[in-house]
């Protein structure tokens, strides 16, 4: 069951990263992309998500009950939640590093994730804190 749980966590993490890349590409949130080219970023998202599903379901039999090798509902939920949170943190951090060269201060009137259209999460977060300190 430990191996199954590990596989499920990796599958959830990679699929969430892919889903976030697709969402970033679709919503023009370039600061969230893993690569500087938008089209390649979108394709990378599709590849990550589809690849995660293919790997998980084709690598071995997954139709197993929790009384054998499978996962119970609550453990499945907890593992997915952890994987999704980790994927979000990883996406925010990694995209900030990759895009750090082209990031610049967002305008003061741009609030929330809208700022990620032109800058990275790290830069946008610093701008938020600076703005709060000023006011």
């Amino acid at each position: 069951m430990i191996l199954f749980a590990l596989h499920y966590s990796i599958f959830s993490f990679v699929a969430c990263c892919g889903g976030l890349q697709i969402a970033a590409w679709y919503n023009h949130l370039d600061g969230l992309l893993f690569v500087t080219n938008r089209l390649i970023g979108g394709l990378l998202g599709v590849a990550l998500a589809v690849g995660a599903f293919l790997w998980f379901f084709l690598s071995r039999e997954r139709n197993v009950p929790d009384t054998e090798d499978g996962l119970g509902g609550s453990l499945m939920f907890a593992l997915f939640l952890a994987a999704a949170a980790f994927a979000t943190v990883f996406t925010l951090g990694f995209s900030s590093l990759v895009n750090s060269m082209r990031s610049h201060q967002p305008p003061d009137d741009v609030d929330g994730v809208e700022a990620l259209r032109t800058t990275t999460f790290g830069t946008a977060l610093r701008a938020s804190f600076r703005r709060d300190n000023r006011s």
Binding site: A49, N63, G70, D111
Partner: protein
């Protein structure tokens, strides 16, 4: 009612083995992991979706309602299962199965309840995404009946419970104002919403 239930179940289940590639695809689609992860990733993506701040906020509220109604309906089904027990179709009928033999109650169908809670929650924010999730939820539910692990009435009850939990959570979120608005404002400040 039971007769209709059995007739529909037996009619659907008779096709198992007729097209092996359909069975192979359905075994993956109706597994415990495919649809739940697909639905959850869709909700995660919907959080960031919206070309304007207003549209994104509508989607984010819908994601909150969907996620909380999934939790709520899961609790409802757990309580119901403790009081109502219905044997799985394969106990009373000799059926070819596409799935392992679950030992919990057949009524109401928990996977369907979760799928329809997610779909109806998403539909509140984005009709297109909600519609796709409803279609996938219907395929998921029909697939489980086809596979011989649920009666049609189990999945219909599960679906209705899922939608009811979304309606309930929508009301709770409205009554809970301005807490959701304040929470969204804080998340926007740290660039997460």
């Amino acid at each position: 009612m039971t007769r209709v239930d059995e007739t529909v179940l037996l009619w659907l289940n008779q096709w198992v083995g007729f097209l092996p590639w359909v069975d192979a695809a359905l075994k993956v689609l109706i597994s415990d992991y495919f649809m739940p992860v697909l639905f959850s990733i869709t909700l995660l993506g919907l959080w960031f979706t919206g070309l304007t701040r207003q549209l994104r906020e509508i989607n984010q509220r819908a994601v909150w309602i969907a996620a909380s109604s999934m939790g709520l309906v899961n609790a409802w089904v757990t309580v119901m299962n403790a009081h109502i027990f219905r044997f799985r179709p394969f106990v009373d009928h000799d059926l070819p199965l596409l799935f392992y033999r679950p030992t919990d109650s057949s009524f109401p169908a928990n996977p369907t309840a979760l799928a329809f809670a997610a779909a109806s929650g998403a539909w509140l924010g984005n009709k297109k995404v909600g519609g796709i999730l409803f279609a996938l939820g219907t395929l998921y539910s029909a697939g489980r009946v086809y596979a011989g692990v649920f009666y049609p009435s189990d999945v219909i009850a599960g679906g209705l419970l899922g939608i009811a939990s979304t309606a309930f959570m929508t009301m709770i979120f409205r009554l809970g104002e301005p807490i959701p608005t304040i929470a969204l404002r804080i998340m926007r400040r740290i660039r997460l919403a």
